[in-house]
Symmetry: C2
Subunit: 130 residues, 2 copies
Amino acid sequence: MNMEPIKQRYSRQRETILQVVQSTLVHPNADWVYKETRKIIPNISLGTVYRNLNQLVESGRILKLKDEAMVRYDGNTGQHDHFRCSKCGKWYDVELIDQSIFKSFAEKHDFQIESFNLELEGTCKNCLDS
Amino acid sequence: MNMEPIKQRYSRQRETILQVVQSTLVHPNADWVYKETRKIIPNISLGTVYRNLNQLVESGRILKLKDEAMVRYDGNTGQHDHFRCSKCGKWYDVELIDQSIFKSFAEKHDFQIESFNLELEGTCKNCLDS
DNA sequence: AAGTTAATAGTAATAGTTACTGTTATGTTT
DNA sequence: AAACATAACAGTAACTATTACTATTAACTT
Ligand SMILES: [Mn+2]
Ligand SMILES: [Mn+2]
Ligand SMILES: [Zn+2]
Ligand SMILES: [Zn+2]
């Protein structure tokens, strides 16, 4: 009798990477995750970080965000929007904007709209003050 | 007496690149623009295309869009939003969503919000039919 | 016409990411 | 518990989009 083939095995590397991403609010890129994870697993390979980040995205355990010419990751998988400071490049969470207008918007189109992604940009409090 | 220094000189390359971007609805990437422009200026360099696309963005004559791991350009500088098909990767223009909710949203934050960018994603009519 | 320098073609370099390869380790089957 | 199958690994090479460099050309100024 054939069992379902194994889809994913446990690895200390993957669990550590997940914890690293989940433990921060900075919405890090792969290199940041690599450097942080190396503090725990000093000989981990950058390729391993990329491969596992992609897997974690695919399995829905983290989110993938597009920055300028770079990918960022988010351990917060709850629904929320983002604000990006164009001065310092930092990403901030903001509460999800009311989706109702989007739904009525979707009805007007013959596209099958699956997701609305709102990106806010401007200058953050920190950069305004200094 | 000193005149203002010249900021930008005319170049056939730049004007052709602008016309190429303005003449299409495909929201092309640099390579597409390069190939199209080569039909008119066969020996144009890819570096020239990149440099001029960046200048045209800076001077506000075209728009810059972020795709998955690539930049796209838009000759339509009027206010509008975009829908991206996750199946075929094509970008479509959609009318600008009502901005009023965004404005009230902005008032709730201590960020200085300068732009709202709405990205719609899903499956386009073409891909649904086939 | 001579001078200044923006813009160019062509090419090298960079940065982020993915692919490859031989080895290790996780989970399964006997 | 031993043998097995293969997911995952570390290390490294390759790839892709973009930018930087350099010697030459051409747009504008005087
Ligand atoms: Mn977030
Ligand atoms: Mn458009
Ligand atoms: Zn800032
Ligand atoms: Zn499509």
